[in-house]
Symmetry: C2
Subunit: 371 residues, 2 copies
């Protein structure tokens, strides 16, 4: 299981600021460029490192905004120039992943792409690899395949995938059809999901033959599909690309791949799922970051930051230190302190979701310099 | 009542860092140099401004550490050079006030000195003036006189003065003897004190003829008294002063004036008190600072700092902003956030007293650079 998978190409959409992680995440320093686990690697780099054994360094593509090109190439010195797909503006995930599929399908019609977010945290890599290998095997059979995370607790923070009938696929003993997608549940419902074991967390991973994905987009969103083909046709022609991107890209429909592809495919029995048994987190807010970094012990104060100088007394929660300042936290429970050069956040894990509202308010009050 | 009081000299001991207000107060920026009320003036300057109508600008002396000379003169450009009494090292309040008394008594044997801390907050100046004028009248009769604050609530944060028999003093209709001093009480006791009205807060203000004060020191601490006289004799001789200070000052006994003078004088029926009806606070910690700056409304978030850029949502307590950073506080109750260039404190008003422990810990752990 150590050779790259034939015809497999990993695609990393690296977009999204991660507003709920402000002031750590910013327009010019989005979440995927940060080390959120104390590993010494950015989330993007960790994603690359996880995918390299599966795809090989020559077959990992990143879809990102023009503004992040230098940062992405800095994090991933091994990425071939031709595999950095730059968006002139964000057009949501169908455009981003569809563009990669269309370009890569022109380069290799047999290609199987796997799309993995740049800003998630995954632990236990060999279990991740095992899930991806099963997913690729299932994708070869023509299924659009997702990896659903086997829940470790009754979370109300994620959407769920209900697993349906099992599939007989060689090399994918755990493959099953997706019966349906379910929105974030309330706690009571989450508890029944957790007990049933047939509900998996929706981690937004899709593994599919590029041609199958494009057919599904064509069936559901023909104009978007036409735009993607036009872009792909010009893409590898240095001179043709620019004008076509300028003309076509801004007009592409903004729609999440969940709605343009996954749900319609599930309804047609064309969506498969592989259960993932690895630790996974989308690090959606500081509460999740706190949990991720406290070793699961709520009586701990998690500390994130290379040169953190923290003095804590009877404090729990998380301190993110991005400056050389001494930070003292005394007698505060479930606190969130995020210390950056030009902005400071103090809240609690309970109110972590409200951080996005602050970002909106800062925009409105003319303090966008710190966003 | 607008002319300076004849023979009256105000003395401002400006020592003490105010460790409970770290990281705002520091060794090189002690509490008295800060504006803690949002008035635009440091506490020292506000103390000067309060005393100037009573003593005149030529008759206010400051006793401070050598390290603070420039800062003190910067705050008080009107202070005559001869009225800045520099300590080579701190020797507690008997030495500080006794030195001023001894020097000023040599300059004018009739002098009445009033000692007022540099770092307290007082509101309603005309009531303060009225109390001081009564205290000076009482001091002329030979009493060492203190001003005790009429409590506005049953505080457990201050020591108390129990008022005894009334005194008949012209110009001081409220003068009374001090029956005794009482340490900080528990809440139950504080409530009975508050109900009785004969218990006043000990604000550490002393108004007395300099010769009377020196006699009291002589009676109780003869060696300390001898040292002070030797210092005073040399003081106004520029050449003699240095060697005498170097020889005598470091050997002076360290003792608070409460123990060397006030308690013994009270026991002998020589200590008088004038009730003060003005608002007073010693701003002992961030809880008291929060209260002081929130207009008494606990549902407020008090904000201190000239260029504060605060975004608060469902937050109460206090934010002290000493940097141009944006500070966002969300969903935290009774929070204390103190943001300075090299150190950040996050605690709650409930734990405000523990800040001193942090300062001690920082010393021990080699992070004294931020103290």
């Amino acid at each position: 299981m150590t050779d790259p998978i034939p015809d497999f190409y990993a695609v990393i959409p690296a977009g999204g600021i991660g507003s709920r992680l402000w002031p750590l995440s910013r327009a010019d320093a989005p979440k995927f460029l940060h080390d959120l686990t104390g590993s010494g690697r950015s989330l993007l780099r960790a994603t690359w490192d996880r995918l390299e054994p599966l795809a090989g360094a020559d077959r990992i593509a990143v879809v990102t905004g023009r503004a992040h090109r230098a940062a992405v190439e800095g994090e991933l010195p091994g990425i071939p120039d031709k595999n950095v797909f730059l968006e002139s503006e964000p057009r949501d995930s169908t455009a981003a992943i569809g563009l990669a599929a269309a370009i890569l399908a022109r380069r290799n019609p047999e290609v199987i792409i796997g799309s993995f977010a740049a800003d998630h945290v995954i632990r236990v890599p060999h279990l991740f690899e095992w899930a991806v290998r099963q997913a690729v095997a299932t994708a070869r059979e023509g299924y659009i395949t997702t990896i659903g995370i086997q829940p470790s607790e009754p979370s109300v923070g994620f959407g769920y995938i209900k697993k349906g009938d099992e599939l007989i696929v060689e090399g994918a003993p755990e493959a099953a059809l997706v019966e349906s997608f379910v929105e974030k549940p309330d706690l009571e419902t989450a508890k029944t999901y957790f007990a049933e074991r047939s509900y998996l967390w929706n981690a937004g991973m899709f593994i599919t033959r590029a041609d199958v994905l494009l057919s599904e987009i064509a069936a559901n969103r023909p104009e978007l599909h036409a735009g993607l083909l036009e872009l792909a046709e010009a893409w590898d022609d240095r001179e043709a690309r620019g004008p076509v991107v300028d003309r076509v890209w801004p007009g592409l429909e903004k729609i999440a791949i969940d709605y343009s592809v996954a749900e319609p495919a599930a309804a047609k029995g064309r969506l498969a799922v592989i259960p993932g048994h690895f630790d996974w987190d989308d690090v959606g807010d500081f509460a999740s970051l706190s949990k991720l970094n406290s070793g699961g012990r709520s009586e701990n104060l998690a500390i994130l930051g290379e040169n953190a100088r923290i003095l804590a007394d009877a404090a729990t929660g998380i301190v993110v230190s991005n400056t050389p300042r001494v930070i003292s936290v005394i007698g505060v429970k479930d606190i969130v302190v995020v210390d950056t050069a030009d902005a400071l956040l103090v809240t609690t894990t309970e109110h972590a979701q409200r951080v996005k509202g602050v970002v909106d308010a800062l925009k409105l009050t003319g303090r966008g310099d710190v966003l």
